[in-house]
Every structure is written in C-alpha cells, then in structure tokens.
C-alpha cells in the first residue's frame, strides 16, 4: 500500500533524533555535553597506571582507543555497545590472567572540542563507565588526518604498566580508526591538550618507536567508516606498524578480534584454537576475525617479548 502516512515535519524529526531516547550508552555525549568529561581529560595527568594487586597479581594492560570524528559515522556507537563484552571474553577463555582495560577516544586537535579522551586501566566493569563518558565529537577536520599521534604520545609518555616494568611484557594498544595520523606531534598541541612543555615537535615515527617499546600496537580499520578499505590509509599505517594493521569487515566482531589478538600475543592460543573458542561461545564472528587476523597467523610459537631497551622501531614479536 503506497502511502505517505508518516509525518515529514522537519522540526519534530530534529527533536526526535536529538532526544536521548533509547539505550544510547554515550549518555554523557547525548546529554548535550560539549566538553571533555573531567575523568577523561588528559590535561595535567602524570600517568594512567596499570598496577598489580593481591587480587590481580599478573596484570596485562590492554588499551583501546577509537576515533570519534565524523568520518567514523556510526562506528563509535557500535563500539560502545560491543566493547563492554571485551573483559568477559578475555577472562572466560583465560587469554590473559588479569587483564586491565583502558578506553579512550581520539579527535582532531586542529579543530575539535575533544581532541583526546583517556579513561583509566580497570580490572572490572568500571571501564564501561569511562566508555559512557566519552564525548562523541562527530567533527574532525575532513582532511583524512586525525590526532592519532597525540594519542600515541600520551600512551608512550603518560602510562605506567606493571606488566612491562616488572615483567618485561608489553601491554596491548588497539587504535580503531579510518584516517591518518599527522606527520608530527606538535609541541603546541601537546602543551594545550596534555600540558607538557616540549622543546620541539616530535615526528610520528619517533613516537611510534617509543610507544612500541611499551606496547604491541595494532591499528584496526573497520568497515563502515569513512575510509574503510582505503589503500592509502592502510599503506601509511603499515609503514608505521608493519603487519599489525588489521582490516575488520564486521564491526560486530571487534571484541573477538581484540581478544584473540591478545590471546595470540600472550601465547595462550593459536588462531585455529581461538576461532574454535569463538564457535564454542556461540559467536558468529569467527569468519570476520579469521580474515582480520590472517596476517598475524604464523607457524612458530610466540616469542615472549624481552625488554628491548634499544628501542627498535615497530618491534613486532610475531
């Protein structure tokens, strides 16, 4: 029955889309907030710490930062509904004994209100509260670059990980986005957003070299974002991170992809076992995860990451 029974009133529609109805988990963002929540503000933060405790004696730090600018479309919202599953997935299968998870969001320091938002490393569901406080920027510069390098600078110089400092095991950092980093960490932006005084700009290559001493860094390009499948973006990230650049064609599988990557890195499983585990859990994500991680599959067992104080760039222990 062709019809036009639904009203097309422009003002009612705008109000309806703006109403924070439904189960939007970005409660802070949807409440009309326009500034970074105090808990996530990186300015003046000495360090976000991942520490062992009696309850969690062998912590493994897992940080997940995602791009929240406009080109990402609905991806941040989807991530927000999916990421709370990550902790359970890591624990259920024993991929990491005591995972501690930090969530953060990346904007564009050249034009956004929220260029960088960083939560805390948490061992329980408190990291979900940080997720809910993330301001969805939806802006971005539209020039295919976002301030990934600023986020990498913060993670390199303002985090402190027991897994690394006590045990010589790198943490895991996942950056989910669809654009390029700027070529340099600009001292002016570092001063404004993080509060450090730098004598000079730092090239993005330099900061990646620093960062990869402490973290295994992965870049995930999800389908459904602005530049998904864009070979230019992929090539640029591969130059920085080698094979740790993953294309994920099913965003619903983001937690499984992260969990299996950690499981592979922690030498807990090989890819086939991991995909088998997903089947056991009733997850439909196996195919997408298998494709995303195919580049990481290898015959040899993982070599534990010894402390590499020479700071070789883009250390990959795969």
């Amino acid at each position: 029955m062709g019809s036009g029974i639904w009203s097309t009133d422009v003002y009612a529609a705008a109000a309806s889309y703006r109403a924070a109805s439904g189960a939007s988990a970005f409660a802070y963002s949807d409440s009309g907030a326009r500034t970074v929540h105090d808990d996530l503000n990186p300015y003046g933060v000495a360090a976000r710490e991942s520490r062992d405790s009696d309850e969690h004696p062998a912590t493994v730090a897992v940080a997940v930062l995602f791009d929240v600018t406009g080109s990402m479309g609905g991806v941040p919202r989807t991530l927000q509904t999916k990421l709370p599953d990550l902790l359970g997935l890591l624990l259920r299968k024993g991929y990491a004994a005591d995972p501690q998870i930090l969530f953060g969001a990346i904007g564009d320091a050249t034009c956004d209100r929220a260029p960088l938002q960083i939560g805390q490393f948490e061992s329980d569901n408190r990291m979900d509260e940080d997720l809910g406080k993330i301001l969805l920027e939806g802006g971005g510069g539209g020039q295919r670059t976002e301030s990934y390098e600023l986020a990498m600078y913060f993670m390199a110089r303002h985090t402190s990980l027991d897994c690394f400092e006590k045990r010589g095991r790198r943490g895991y950092l996942f950056i989910i986005g669809d654009e390029l980093p700027y070529p340099k960490v600009k001292r002016r932006e570092v001063g404004k957003v993080i509060g450090d005084s730098l004598g000079r700009d730092i090239t993005t290559e330099e900061i990646v070299a620093e960062l990869t001493r402490i973290y295994d860094v992965y870049y995930i390009l999800p389908a459904g974002s602005g530049y998904a499948g864009d070979s230019h973006t992929l090539a640029a990230w591969r130059k920085l991170l080698g094979q740790n650049v993953l294309e994920l064609d099913d965003l619903d599988a983001v937690c499984e992809t992260i969990a299996l990557t950690v499981g592979l890195g922690e030498d807990a499983i090989d890819l086939d076992q991991g995909l088998g585990d997903l089947g056991d859990l009733g997850s439909a994500a196996g195919a997408a995860v298998g494709r995303a991680l195919a580049r990481l599959e290898r015959g040899a067992p993982v070599v534990g990451g010894e402390l590499d104080l020479r700071g070789g760039s883009g250390v990959i222990r795969l």
Partner: protein, 406 residues
C-alpha cells in the same frame, strides 16, 4: 529458515509483503531485513497476534520482532518520515528503533523540496495523473539522474557545509518553497548522529551471519522499465537490486500475490470488477494515489511479471480468506511479451494494448483450491498460504523455503 530470501510483489503492490516478511522473521533468527528499492512511500502492514499494528514505510517489516533494518544504497531515504515512523514504533514497545537501523551513505535523500516539487507536478497533470504517492521519491530519482553528483545523499548528512550547498541548489532548481535549508540541515545532522551510517561493504558482512530477508517495495507491474508506462514507479521493483546486493550469494526468490488482483490509482487493471467486495482494512484511498481498485486474479499480468523478473523460486499467496472464485486465464490479445529494459515507447504501446484487452475467465475455484490453481497457472510452487493478517493465519504449503536450522 536457513536461506536468504528476497520478497517481491508480482502485481501492482499491496499483496502482503509486510505480513510475509513478518512471518519469515518469526520462523527463526534473522540477521536483518534489507530494503532495496523505493522509499518512504511504501506501506507494508504488519499485525501482531496481540493486535499491535504498524504500517511499515522505511523500517523493515521484522521490526516488531526486534529484527534490524538495513536501508541499502538503492533506497531513497527520508529521515524526516523515518523519525515519525520510529516514534510510532517506540509507542508500540520497540525499545530503540533508531538503534535497529543502518543506512548506506550512498542512498539518495528525499527532502521536503522533492516532495513539494513532486506534488506540484502531479497536480499539474490534472486528470492525467500517474498515481504518485506524493512522497517525492520519483522527484528524488529524477533530480539525481538529471544533476549527476548533486543529488543529496545520506552520507552528505555528515557534512553540513556540503549538504547546505546541495539543498540550496536543489531548492532553486526545483523552484519550490519549504522549510529553511538550515533547519533541514540541522535535522539531517541529528539523524546522522543518531543512526548508524555505513558503507556498501556492510551488506556483505550481513550476509555472512544469519539469514537475511530482502523486502521489496511496490510491485513488479509498477517497475520503472517493465511496468505499464507511464503508470509506474521510479524504482526497479524486480529481484534485480537485491540480487546486486547479494553479489552471487544464493537466495530464495519469493513472489507474493493475492487471490485477487488490485491496484492503487490510475493505470491498467484488466480484471477490474467493482462488484468484488473485498475487505480492505488497511488500503484506504490515498489522497495522492487515487482510489484503491480491485479485480479478479489476473494470471496473464502475473505471468508477465514473472517473465520480466526472470522467474521466481516460490510464491506466497495471501487473502485465501477472500470470497473470490474466478481467475483470468487469458486475454483476447494473447500473452504479454516481456521487452528489454529502457524502451519506454514500447512500454507505452504495451500499456495501450493492455488497456483494450478483454479478460477470459475460469470460474468455480473453491477456497481450498487457490494455491494449486495459482501454482498451475504460473508454473511456480506456492509455499506459503495466508488467510489473515497475523503469523497465526499462515500455513507452510511446501518446503521450498527450507525448514529452519536446528
């Protein structure tokens, strides 16, 4: 149900695609309902056993069962109508209708300016109306084709500066009034922030999950190239768009028909018979489309629909409860030959012949005989029968649609 299914109407629309999609979504887990043609002018009625009723225009007809909707790149999307439809769904108890939606950024945007222009054009035709739904879908397609790259798309909603330029140009080109461009841009931006916009690769990801139901709009006899020109819609109403989205992944092609043939508004209806007193709960006369008309089952027209659609794997037959007993088995002018797409002069000539055609009837078809009679007349098995608006009124007649996964 273990296979992807494409649901298409083999008549002039209104055969019951919504109720069939609802039934499919009740058979087992469905990944998503994908819309692949038309836009906000669709009106697919679904009634749940508890009496809740919704006329689906852009949301898929599985929404009341919690099945997500994907609006593919072939759709003409009207975010304003989408919002009011979502509000009604929320009132029926759907927790977060916007959360069930994904929209392809490449889909065209139907705006208030397109609607105004379409209605002005239809009014100017006077007595010679085509039967527009007044939702601006045709105008949207026409403008996008006539102004390559300038037709606003869903993806433009994320780029207010670009969208503002496109809407100003559109408003000027169509010479219409309407709400201020800034107000439209604000609403579209809110839409883009609230609803997940995706790229065309999203469909492939959907197809790797559970079965997907492709829900067609309008009917094959209204197809832009194969329908009876000019009484057609600006959209491909065959299986073609769905098959393009499937990109080689197999799916069951399911044609939907009533036990009698109907149409909204002007155009051929060879078997028209005002004496037919069919109960039409949801099909009122539309202010833009004109009257709702009824006729006997027109096997010739539906065979033509099958021919231009490239055949179907199975049929769903609705309105088995209707008091009808005659079927048009042939025309005095013979069968209707399918032609190549793109030849509208040929289609207009065909329309002229059809308007002069006389039906020949076979009678005495009893209530229980319809599925066999239709399968026999069209050469396609009838796998689903429906004798009422809800799932409880449906009966599976053969297993062309495979039994659901255990």
């Amino acid at each position: 149900m273990s296979e992807h299914v494409i649901v298409v109407d083999l008549g002039y629309g209104d055969a019951g695609k919504g109720t069939v999609v609802d039934w499919l979504c009740a058979q087992g887990p469905v990944q998503a309902v994908v819309r692949f043609n038309g836009g906000g002018q669709a009106g697919h009625n679904v009634v749940l056993p508890d009496g809740r009723h919704h006329t689906f225009a852009q949301f898929g007809s599985g929404t009341l069962r919690g099945v997500p909707t994907h609006l593919s790149r072939f759709m003409v999307v009207d975010p304003l109508a989408l919002a009011s439809e979502a509000a009604h769904l929320a009132g029926l108890g759907v927790p977060d209708p916007f959360g069930l939606l994904t929209v392809d950024r490449d889909a065209l945007l139907a705006t208030p300016y397109h609607v105004a222009a379409g209605r002005a054009r239809e009014l100017a035709r006077g007595a010679d109306r085509h039967g527009s739904c007044g939702m601006g879908v045709g105008e949207t397609m026409a403008y996008a084709l006539g102004h390559p790259g300038l037709g606003p798309t869903v993806g433009d909603c994320e780029d207010p500066a670009l969208l503002t330029r496109k809407l100003r140009a559109l408003r000027e080109a169509l010479g219409v009034t309407g709400p201020a461009v800034e107000d439209c841009v604000a609403a579209y931006r809110a839409f883009a922030e609230r609803v997940a916009l995706v790229d065309s690769s999203y469909t492939a990801a959907l197809l790797r999950g559970r079965p997907v139901v492709f829900e067609g709009a309008q009917g094959v006899l209204l197809d832009e190239w194969h329908g009876f020109h000019p009484h057609t819609t600006w959209s491909t109403t065959t299986f073609a768009n769905a098959l393009a989205l499937l990109d080689g992944v197999p799916a069951v092609r399911l044609g939907v028909l009533r036990t009698y043939t109907t149409r909204h508004g002007p155009g051929p209806l060879v078997t028209e018979d005002p004496e037919l007193e069919a109960a039409e709960a949801h099909n009122a006369d539309g202010p833009w489309q004109g009257p709702f008309r009824v006729g006997h089952f027109d096997a010739v027209a539906h065979r033509y629909a099958l021919a231009v659609a490239g055949g179907a794997d199975a049929l769903a037959l609705t309105h088995l409860d209707a008091p009808v007993s005659r079927m048009c088995v042939s025309y005095d002018i013979g069968e209707l030959p399918a032609g190549p797409p793109g030849d509208l002069d040929r289609q207009a000539r065909l329309t002229g012949r059809v308007l002069r055609a006389r039906p020949r009837y076979a009678g005495g078809i009893g209530a229980g005989d319809w599925p066999a009679a239709v399968a026999d007349a069209l050469g396609v098995p009838v796998c689903l029968g429906s004798a009422g608006p809800t799932v409880a009124d449906k009966v599976r007649l053969s297993s062309v649609i495979a039994p659901e996964r255990v």
